[in-house]
Symmetry: C2
Subunit: 294 residues, 2 copies
Amino acid sequence: MDFKSDMQARIQEIEAALQTYIPKQEAFPPVIFEAMGYSLFAGGKRLRPMMVLAACEAVGGKKEMAMPFACALEMIHTYSLIHDDLPAMDNDDYRRGRLTSHKVYGEDMAILAGDGLLHHAMETMAQACYENPCKETTGAMLAIAKGAGIHGMLTGQVVDVYFEGKPIDKETLDFIHIHKTAAMIRGALEAGARVGGASEEVVEKFGLAGEKIGVAFQILDDILDVTSTMEELGKPIHSDEKNEKTTYVTLYGIEESRKIAAKLSDEAVAIWKELGESCDFLQTLTNYLLQRTY
Amino acid sequence: MDFKSDMQARIQEIEAALQTYIPKQEAFPPVIFEAMGYSLFAGGKRLRPMMVLAACEAVGGKKEMAMPFACALEMIHTYSLIHDDLPAMDNDDYRRGRLTSHKVYGEDMAILAGDGLLHHAMETMAQACYENPCKETTGAMLAIAKGAGIHGMLTGQVVDVYFEGKPIDKETLDFIHIHKTAAMIRGALEAGARVGGASEEVVEKFGLAGEKIGVAFQILDDILDVTSTMEELGKPIHSDEKNEKTTYVTLYGIEESRKIAAKLSDEAVAIWKELGESCDFLQTLTNYLLQRTY
């Protein structure tokens, strides 16, 4: 199976699993499930849950054991996008080529749909840990909670919002990228490795690769915001400029930014090579994400 | 020790534990920790964490093992208040006698402070489960996650917001009370019983008592909104009227509402009596909360 078909098969599997975790129209009224589903099933690339599953399999673990954590992580990622898009935050009207949650359901329901996805991520992971209480499951839950939490993604978003419209230095921009984007990718790979039963030493290598991939990914996102079109991105371009955000492009320029991203990407690939051929898919995925060789 | 002194001692213990879980000014910038602490340390009655600890001790468990779950539950309760008060929701300016989070920190930081508390509740519980992975810890986390989640508190809030300004029937009002308020009190008592090692049968009794206490507590809250003063409540009175909310008072009148609350309270007390003298504190607390005999 070639890489693209492999990716598609993995995405299909994650889509099906996510559907089982989000109940349909059970509530009274069903609006919250509709709103959660609207954002969760918007055709995302499912990169983060894919990384959880791939990391678990790479260390010899069973994919089924990693699935609830993979789905929970995607719920957290989706919640963060819904809240980031709110009028009080980035005030974006489009995401993944569709109207954002608050444009469709109103600001109140968008806040609650985000909250609901974060709640349900917690419940999904707690259920998996309760069914099989061990260091592997609880360690995976902890890795995801930390990646998302007040020393991870959340703080990155806070600092990003805090400095909006103000000039920031390179140190602050790196803080934002490491926390807002990279912490969750680190969390995904760590969680997968943990639930798969890897040693602390191996878990740390997965985490380090995740951080490098995450920062590079965010730098490329900054570049695409300048060089891409709305059709290609599925969301408005030049949103950083509109929001007066300092990015890698404004601090380093496009060419230098590309070089920094490439270096980080090479370092991540070196980690996958060191870990051996069980990490081949992760290596290919890293290249695909960061160098667009496919 | 009399009941009031006992309550005070328990509150002090919970305050101290909460302080250890919320780091001070570690972030860059520290605004998010300040905002989280502003709402978390606003002099709440700490009833819900107190119930977690008391339920754990009542079934013979160790309070120390229950403490992270107690603190996490209070973080979730506080997050729900911050988000409920937002301009897009109830748009309240005062809570516990102080300006609400969004009035002090702005709407963006208030959303993030709420998110941060929910994240940190998840992380705090995940950490406790990881340090001691067993049915007791993971069961406690699951009980809290369910009580707070999309079949619990969150759905109650959704339905409450959804029907604002529209007339609702008794069935819908009960749905809101059971979910928005009672599910978390059920979750608190269930979680305490679970982390203390109670049997499924006993856990269910704690949960049932919690549901009855929670509904009665919300009915009394509806009554107080009409009969109390802002000084007594620490938040604006007549807010239900302002928001055109249907309450027990509008559907049943004050006297009938009092009778319904008293009946629920008696039923909860009967459960504590059946469970024996280890539940004496919970029985006294129930009377204190619902009949104000102290």
